[in-house]
Symmetry: C2
Subunit: 113 residues, 2 copies
DNA sequence: TAATCATACAACCGGTTGGTTGTATGTAAA
DNA sequence: TTTACATACAACCAACCGGTTGTATGATTA
């Protein structure tokens, strides 16, 4: 039922679990860059960079738009928001439960003192 | 120079790029659970769950405290905050550059009309 | 001490990942 | 049309990942 959500989260976290890909997302935020513009600044083959972009594309973090012979990659902010809200939820659960336990402890203290 | 930061980010994103591990983080948020308590609810071997906990531990997302013969896993909220601020930064860069481009376009429009 | 329970860890296996090189295709410029 | 450039994609390889089973260690209980 929520498997699709999990699939998306898997893809997003995995896509961001590589420093080259995180760097690409940073660099194409806003204006967008062609794959070869991107590739020029990494110490790896063009094909490797192209595969990184493909991973980001599959995760929905970037989209490509053809302009002449170049293919321009753009970052998509939506998935970043998705992943942030997932983490916020995790953190909220943490805070919530800690608070609940603190309340219990406070109650015990009062009762025990 | 910033390799350590990247190492941490690699470890955090990779640790969260597995649904079982995300579930474990949720479940040990606040109170904490022993490794076998955790393992009881997954359709995999004890050793597999133990390895997942170890990955989370290496990433700093979980710490263990021995209580009798049991080893209690607790979630750490710090790394979650770290990862959230990384994403916030990414998103800010996005918003910033889009804004800058919007400003340019607005200027062009005014000049061109 | 012996038996048991909770954990740790090593060795192994199939699938995936991050890189390579080579080749094919599509677009632009001579 | 040829030539050159930007991209795509397949095949290959070593390393890593997520799982397994089996064995060893540590703490608790009989």
């Amino acid at each position: 039922m929520k498997g699709l959500l999990d699939d998306e989260a898997d893809a997003l976290f995995q896509a961001l679990a590589d420093r080259t890909r995180r760097d690409i997302v940073r660099r194409v935020a806003g204006e967008g860059l062609s794959v070869s513009d991107l590739a020029a600044d990494y110490d790896m083959s063009f094909a490797a960079v192209q595969k990184h972009v493909a991973v980001l594309e599959r995760a929905g973090l970037v989209t490509k738009r053809r302009v002449g012979k170049r293919q321009i990659a753009h970052a998509e902010v939506g998935p970043l928001r998705t992943i942030r809200s997932m983490l916020a939820e995790l953190e909220d659960q943490w805070v919530e439960r800690v608070q609940r336990i603190d309340d219990l402890l406070a109650g015990d203290e009062q009762a025990g003192s």
